[in-house]
């Protein structure tokens, strides 16, 4: 995996994830797709979005400035490829599973005890995984322009 591939993958991941998760939390509260109160959905939004938007800001700052000084991006990525894509994928997978469980648990005959509080915990856990892994990699893969 070249450093260019890693950068493209992370840039697309954070951009798409931020938009999709943000819209999901903002638009679907109190519906079958997100059966929780708007207050609970807002709480999840406030957990997830600052982290994701922070990453997008770092990535786009690099795209706007440093990209011009490294046009080929053919250098081998200094971080193993699994360490780049596995944590973000697991994080989004966790949120998706939690949302699915929330929907299933809300069926009248369901025995699952998944509720809004558990969903918030799952979201916090996913963000913690990102915090402990990918967020540390992003500044290294998208360094500030050397003065």
């Amino acid at each position: 995996m070249t450093i260019g591939d890693a950068r493209r993958w992370l840039a697309l991941y954070f951009l798409l994830t931020t938009v999709v998760v943000g819209l999901y939390l903002l638009l679907f509260a109190k519906s079958i797709a997100l059966p929780m109160t708007r207050e609970d959905a807002n709480a999840c939004f406030q957990i997830v979005i600052p982290v994701l938007v922070g990453q997008i800001a770092i990535i786009f700052q690099w795209i706007a400035t440093a990209n011009a000084f490294d046009p080929d991006q053919k250098l081998q990525c200094p971080v193993p490829s699994w360490a780049i894509w596995l944590p973000p994928l697991l994080a989004i997978f966790m949120i998706a599973i939690a949302a699915a469980a929330l929907i299933v648990a809300n069926q009248p005959k369901s025995q699952l005890s998944m509720g809004p509080e558990s969903f918030k915990n799952a979201v916090t856990f996913a963000v913690s995984i990102l915090n402990a892994s990918t967020i540390l990699l992003v500044p290294r893969l998208f360094p500030k322009k050397q003065q």
Partner: protein, 559 residues
């Protein structure tokens, strides 16, 4: 070392608890009755003296009410040698005026009057007027008949009115003195201290917190007033305010915050006397006091509701508190209400009025004080339940079976309507209900009214009562049983026979069944209101068909 650790932990725990206790005691200000505000009869500036014009108007109004009087102009149009004599019974208070304001409603009391006109002489007219008045005179009355009008001479009338105004002034002074003495011997309770004690001592916590949203429909008054609907006498209890000193305000607000966040607390049992044995519905048609009174026991609990106030959601304050806070802008209120709960702690119905626990204005923070005058000083006032006429069964006069059948059909039909979709509730069995009452619930089920993903926790209480007119004030005085049933009840045969009904719906909902059931939004409440109204109207129509009646608007008229 190992053995000392538990002792140390215990001592620390005791120390912390002691500190908390001390802190809690310090947050509740001392109650000094001398500093209580909102008691109009203690303020001479709020006393209204009667004028001669008012006294004159009241005398003529009483004469009209008592024996028909066509007005002073009519008297003037009569031929000379005319006179009117009245029996004046002194200046008296109006027992139907709230005790707090009674000093402003002292009126000359005219017992009887008699007149004579077109007599041969004025002497003859005087004699005949006095004689006519004496004829109406009943034994035991102390006052003599006195001439009030003689031809068109204003002097007797002026003199008598002056005497009456002076009488009323003296009566006001005497009454004020009595009221102040009664106030000094009253029992004062700081509502915050009482609520705080109840919150601390409540062993079994109830899982719910349901309260009405603070708004214009909330009446600040005695929370259990509905209990006293039958007795119609309760204004010897009223609420006043006491200001909180500035250094204590933050601590008091913290305590109010804790109460506002608490679930139901302070459970108590309310016992109401009824004239009918509600345990046996067949006894519903027995005459008044067959062997009673019987007792109906309800389980009750308290809750505290906090709200910020603006022009759109100001609750209805009693006049004495409005007067006390005149010139100040009310910013926040903490109200304590009472709710009737089921055996399992589900809220069944919220009482109509809520007590003023605390009021924050732009100038000060006030705490509510319950003032309970000595019992013999109690007056009378009537609190009306929400009413809506649903059935006119006047056709059943004199036929007890027809009456019972009509009332039962409507009640069962209304209950069935609330059991059908989309309300889909189930009757609550094994609850102590009064005659003419039905309770239903839909607990932890998907809401068919709001649709997916919402779940609801609803209780419905149907109350019915009978009256012989659409203004049941007269009946209120004759009813001596609970919630208007019993007393004249369905056995009444004078005037039209009307059945009134009101339905109370307590609702919490959640978009996730594993989430917290909380207060619904206004739009959701409206959806439910519409669904309940449609369901009940359908139920009444069905009952009307069964009873072979005709719907007149939303009322079924049996034919």
């Amino acid at each position: 070392m190992g053995k000392k650790r538990p002792q140390l932990a215990l001592r620390t725990l005791i120390a912390v608890m002691s500190c908390q206790l001390l802190f809690a005691q310090e947050t509740i200000p001392q109650l000094d009755p001398a500093k209580v505000i909102g008691v109009p009869f203690l303020d001479p500036a709020q006393i209204k003296l009667k004028t001669e014009a008012e006294a004159s108007s009241e005398i003529f109004a009483r004469m009209r009410e008592f024996q028909g009087w066509d007005g002073y102009e009519w008297y003037q149009s009569l031929k000379k040698n005319k006179a009117v004599a009245i029996q004046y019974g002194g200046c008296t208070d109006d027992p139907f005026v709230p005790y707090l304001y009674r000093q402003n409603y002292m009126s000359p009391w005219i017992l009887y009057w008699g007149g004579a006109w077109e007599d041969d002489s004025i002497e003859g007219a005087r004699k005949e007027a006095l004689s006519e008045c004496q004829k109406s005179f009943q034994s035991g009355a102390k006052e003599e008949c006195t001439l009030f009008l003689e031809n068109d001479d204003p002097e007797p009338r002026t003199q008598m009115i002056k005497r009456m105004v002076e009488d009323c002034r003296q009566t006001q002074i005497k009454w004020l003195h009595e009221a102040k003495t009664a106030f000094e011997h009253s029992q004062f309770t700081l509502l915050l201290a009482q609520a705080s004690r109840e919150l601390k001592s409540d062993g079994k916590k109830l899982p719910f917190r349901v309260a009405r949203r603070i708004g214009p429909s909330v009446v600040v008054g005695y929370p259990d007033s509905i209990q006293d609907y039958a007795s119609a006498c309760w204004d010897h209890v009223f609420y006043a305010l006491i200001p909180v000193k500035t250094p204590q305000r933050e601590a008091v607000r913290a305590l109010l915050g804790r109460l506002g966040e608490s679930s139901y607390f302070g459970q108590y049992t309310r016992t109401v006397n009824t004239t009918l044995d509600y345990r046996d519905p067949k006894k519903g048609t027995e005459p008044l006091y067959p062997g009673g009174p019987y007792q109906l026991t309800n389980q009750m609990a308290h809750f505290v509701e906090h709200g910020r106030i603006d022009s759109s959601n100001t609750p209805k304050f009693p006049q004495n508190l409005k007067d006390a806070l005149a010139g100040e802008k009310i910013l926040e209120v903490w109200l304590e209400g009472a709710a009737r709960i089921s055996k399992s702690g589900l809220p069944l119905s919220v009482e109509g009025d809520e007590a003023p626990l605390a009021i924050q204005t732009d100038k000060s923070l006030y705490l509510g004080v319950e003032v309970r005058l000595p019992p013999e000083k109690g007056g009378c006032n009537v609190s009306y339940p929400l009413k809506g006429e649903v059935l006119d069964y006047s056709i059943c006069k004199g036929n007890a079976t027809c009456k019972e059948n009509a009332v039962n059909t409507v009640l069962q039909s209304a209950s069935a309507a609330l059991q059908a979709s989309p309300i889909s509730s189930n009757p609550m069995l094994d609850e102590p209900l009064g005659p003419g009452e039905v309770s239903l619930q839909r607990a932890y089920q998907p809401s068919l009214v709001l649709g997916r993903p919402f779940y609801e926790l609803s209780t419905y209480s149907i109350h019915t009562y009978t009256a012989s007119s659409d203004h049941p004030m007269g009946d209120a005085y004759e009813k001596t049983s609970y919630m208007g049933t019993g007393g004249r009840g369905i056995a009444a045969d004078s005037g039209p026979l009307l059945l009134f009904m009101y339905v109370e719906h307590v609702l919490t909902c959640t978009p996730n069944k594993n989430g917290i059931y909380s207060e619904p939004e206004d739009a959701q409440v409206k959806e439910y209101d519409l669904a309940i109204q449609n369901a009940l109207l359908g139920g009444i129509k069905n009952a009307c068909t069964t009873l072979r009646g005709k719907m007149k608007g939303s009322v079924c008229v049996m034919q």
